[in-house]
């Protein structure tokens, strides 16, 4: 188990502070089926504070223009706002400005990295040694990955002849560095794992993995979708080579994600999409590509979305990621304790007392997850049901689907309690034996 990263001195957000935060999120005031909304689906997508909506609108009304093109005043303003946004996000994750690439979402970012390996190793190509994948070389993921950090690597393996191996999980869906060490070999070239699992809430032992990868000369790819929104993140200090996350899970808009890549490695990747704004010289026969990050930003970028994401990041910074983490830790403990005591409920992931980040996925014996979700929805409680894009993990756990409650900075004790109360009545309602 990874040690608790939470400093004991961090004070969790208080209920009063959370109440103040909630006033920035009008979406949370909705009524659903006659009940106040309890939005416990932030792991899928977060709601947006007014500051983010207002900033994007102001940008669109005051400085909307194509960036990195043309020289007129609006275009200059737009370009500045766009590059300032990159700087803000870079600071947020401990990266340099030229280590931040805008993508469509986290999935796109992971595909960009994976595709680079396929392209670099195309028959006849002489790959950069850092990107070389030869038949028999190994790519390691875990059995708990989101499909976004699994299928792209299956594709790389199929295209290059590399072998995809996985770190197995235990009956709770958890793996440790011991399990990982058993899978790593001198042929390991890539290690791609979720920082925090979107099903179990388990935090990967990244420092140890990075140390192991360095020893093996393997490249590390971190799926930071469920960590970047919820805790202070210093990717430079963590030492991973690549990381990906999505704006929409951290108070920002859809339509934009981030790829972090350590320089100069990022600069060694071949482009993913080609087109305008990513080239220096083009003839009818060939093209020369700009350095990173521009090389990966073909065509018109999600400009207003980048500006809005930067505002989301400022919002998170103002509240304090450490205090958000501490608050979520309290609520998570409440969820875990409540669900663990309930008859017929099987909670997936780390046991009581072990670290778990804001997520509780569970099975209700004898009741299909969609029916559980429907019953909760009838009480205004929004949770996610299904395999959460982690089919192999669910199959390993002997489940088709689970019900998942997930938290964020605006979540309340009351919401958690309502969820627990509703769950406790599910089996009786459906007559589950």
């Amino acid at each position: 188990m990874a040690p608790m990263t939470l400093s004991d001195t961090t004070v969790a957000l208080t209920d009063a502070e959370v109440a103040a935060i909630r006033s920035d999120f009008p979406a949370l005031d909705a009524r659903v089926n006659g009940h106040p909304l309890a939005y416990l689906d932030s792991g899928a997508t977060a709601q947006r504070p007014l500051a983010v909506l207002d900033r994007e609108r102001a940008f669109l009304l005051e400085s909307n223009a194509a960036v990195h093109r043309g020289a007129h005043t609006l275009a200059g303003d737009a370009t500045e706002a766009f590059e300032d946004a990159r700087h803000t996000v870079a600071q947020f994750i401990g990266a340099g400005d030229d280590e931040v690439v805008w993508t469509a979402n986290a999935t796109d970012a992971l595909n960009l990295v994976a595709h680079a390996f396929t392209a670099a190793n195309r028959p006849g190509a002489v790959p950069d040694e850092r990107l070389a994948l030869r038949p028999g070389d190994e790519i390691v993921v875990t059995e708990a990955e989101h499909h976004a950090n699994l299928i792209p690597w299956q594709q790389v393996a199929a295209a290059t002849g590399a072998t995809l191996r996985f770190v197995p999980v235990d009956d709770d869906g958890v793996w440790t560095m011991v399990d990982a060490a058993a899978v790593l070999t001198p042929r390991t070239r890539i290690i791609a794992v979720a920082h925090v699992s979107n099903v179990t809430g388990y935090t990967a032992p990244v420092a140890q993995l990075v140390a192991a990868a360095k020893e093996l000369g393997a490249i590390t790819v971190l799926d930071a979708c469920q960590s970047a929104p919820h805790r202070p993140l210093d990717l430079g200090a963590l030492g991973v080579d690549f990381a990906a996350f999505s704006s929409h899970k951290m108070l920002g808009p859809t339509g934009i994600g981030v790829l972090y890549g350590r320089q100069p490695l990022l600069d060694a990747l071949p482009p993913f999409r080609t087109g305008g704004s990513m080239i220096s010289t083009v003839t009818m026969e060939s093209a020369e590509f700009l350095p990173a990050p521009q090389r990966f930003e073909a065509g018109t970028q999600p400009v207003s979305q980048a500006v809005a994401l930067a505002e989301a990041v400022r919002y998170l910074d103002r509240v304090g990621l450490d205090r958000i983490e501490a608050r979520e830790h309290e609520l998570t403990t409440r969820m875990v304790d409540g669900l663990t005591g309930m008859p017929g409920i099987r909670l997936v992931g780390p046991r009581v007392g072990e670290q778990r980040t804001g997520i509780a996925a569970f099975d209700v014996a004898g009741v299909h997850a969609h029916d559980v979700g429907q019953l909760l929805d009838a009480r205004g409680i929004a949770v996610r049901v299904g395999h959460h894009c982690a089919q192999p993990l669910h199959r390993r756990l002997g489940l088709t689907a689970t019900t998942r409650a997930s938290l964020y900075l605006y979540s309340t004790t009351d919401e958690v309690d309502r969820m627990l109360d509703a769950v406790s009545g599910v089996r009786a309602y459906f007559g589950a034996r």
């Binding site: 299909h368 997850a369 029916d371 429907q374 009838a378 009480r379 049901v385 088709t400 689907a401």
Partner: protein, 156 residues
């Protein structure tokens, strides 16, 4: 619980979801179709033997895993099919689809639909329409595959 919810999970549905009429395997089926609901991963395999008339089935059986709605819907469909030997089942499927796309509006025709009218409440829940349709789409595909000759297929 809200009234809407009990309109969806009527006693008949909860009952069928547990009883699962017709959940078995035919040794010699004339047509069989496996239908997957990709949003949840649930699936049903439905088998039929050909009936005498076009669109009619002799025996109908199914097995699968899914939510209460999908299981109850398969169960009720199996019961209806057994009750209507020699009847072309396509009009029934069409009627059911129309009801499931009604979003809870209108009054379903219970003389045509029999117990399947119980899913009228489900039709309000757009995300659950596929659940109720799963077995019915599988039956439609089976009918298409029967030697009696395929008719035009529509999607769920």
């Amino acid at each position: 619980m809200s009234d809407d919810l009990s309109a969806m999970y009527q006693e008949l549905i909860l009952d069928h979801s547990r009883r699962r009429v017709g959940q078995r395997t035919l040794e010699a089926a004339d047509a069989s179709h496996h239908e997957l609901n990709p949003t949840c991963g649930d699936e049903i395999t439905l088998q039929v033997t050909a009936g005498a008339a076009t669109g009619a089935v002799g025996e109908l059986a199914w097995h699968g895993n899914g939510c209460s709605i999908s299981m109850a819907s398969a169960s009720i469909l199996a019961e209806l099919a057994a009750d209507r030997p020699g009847t072309d089942l396509r009009p029934l499927i069409d009627e059911f689809r129309t009801m499931m796309h009604s979003r809870g509006r209108g009054e379903p025709d219970d003389s045509a639909l029999g117990d399947a009218v119980v899913f009228h409440g489900t039709s309000k829940y757009v995300m659950r329409v596929k659940c109720a349709m799963l077995a019915w789409v599988a039956l439609e595909k089976c009918l298409d595959a029967l030697p009696a000759g395929p008719a035009a297929t529509a999607d769920a």
